[in-house]
């Protein structure tokens, strides 16, 4: 018996939560945050939808199966280590490139790795929660 109030609140809260989660992820390198907590907050957002509107709605909203996110995360993590090897340095060495856009914003493999961690944490948490939620 999902309560009407909760689902409406969820509809407003979800974007805020997701925004905050990505915000935490991207800021992780300089300010407190990072892949782990970002992933957790992201998972919390979808759990909220799960509770408010039921698991199927949450799965539809996620559009991709949590286990796929899990796998993609792990793959990305390993992939982000490869450029280091390509440069003859040990596996997972950081490699940075300064993008011309936004005043020389720097994009580096550690950020990719952080994103990978985000995906894995999100995937794992949702896999578990959705599995438990399913009747």
């Amino acid at each position: 018996m999902p309560s009407l109030i909760l689902s409406t609140a969820a509809r407003y809260l979800l974007p805020l939560l997701l925004l905050f989660s990505v915000f935490l992820l991207l800021r992780g390198h300089d300010e407190p945050g990072g892949g782990f907590v970002g992933g957790l907050v992201g998972a919390a957002a979808f759990v909220l939808v799960g509770i408010a509107a039921g698991v199927d709605q949450a799965r539809r909203l996620l559009r991709v199966d949590p286990r796929a996110a899990l796998a993609a995360g792990l793959l990305l993590a390993v992939a982000s280590g490869l450029p280091g090897v390509a440069l003859g340095r040990p596996f997972l060495t950081g490699w940075w490139v300064t993008l011309p856009v936004a005043g020389g914003a720097k994009l580096g493999t550690p950020l990719l790795f952080d994103l990978a961690v985000y995906l894995v944490v999100l995937g794992a948490a949702l896999t578990i929660v959705f599995a438990l939620m399913e009747e």
């Binding site: 939560l17 905050f20 300010e31 407190p32 907050v41």
Partner: protein, 87 residues
């Protein structure tokens, strides 16, 4: 002076609130009592964070406060849903 005030005046008050909340968590006859107490606990902690930030002149803990606010809301909702289902 402000920093001392924040630390030695406001913190004890919050500490007292903390103890009262814990009393309710432990004794609370029904489950929802405990959930409400836990919710209040979150607010007390947010208060502590705010006081601590002023005391240490460090704004960095605000993110912790946001995360806490977001996430504890979820805890309460989950509890509520569980209590509704009986047990």
């Amino acid at each position: 002076m402000l920093r001392a005030l924040a630390l030695w005046a406001v913190m004890p008050v919050l500490a007292a609130a903390l103890v009262l909340t814990l009393y309710r968590i432990v004794r609370g006859p029904s489950a929802p009592d405990r959930v409400v107490a836990l919710d209040l606990l979150t607010v007390v902690v947010i208060g502590m964070i705010a006081a601590y930030e002023v005391a240490t002149d460090q704004p960095v803990y605000l993110d912790v406060a946001i995360t806490l606010a977001l996430v504890s809301f979820l805890g309460t909702i989950a509890f509520a849903r569980y209590v509704e289902r009986g047990r």
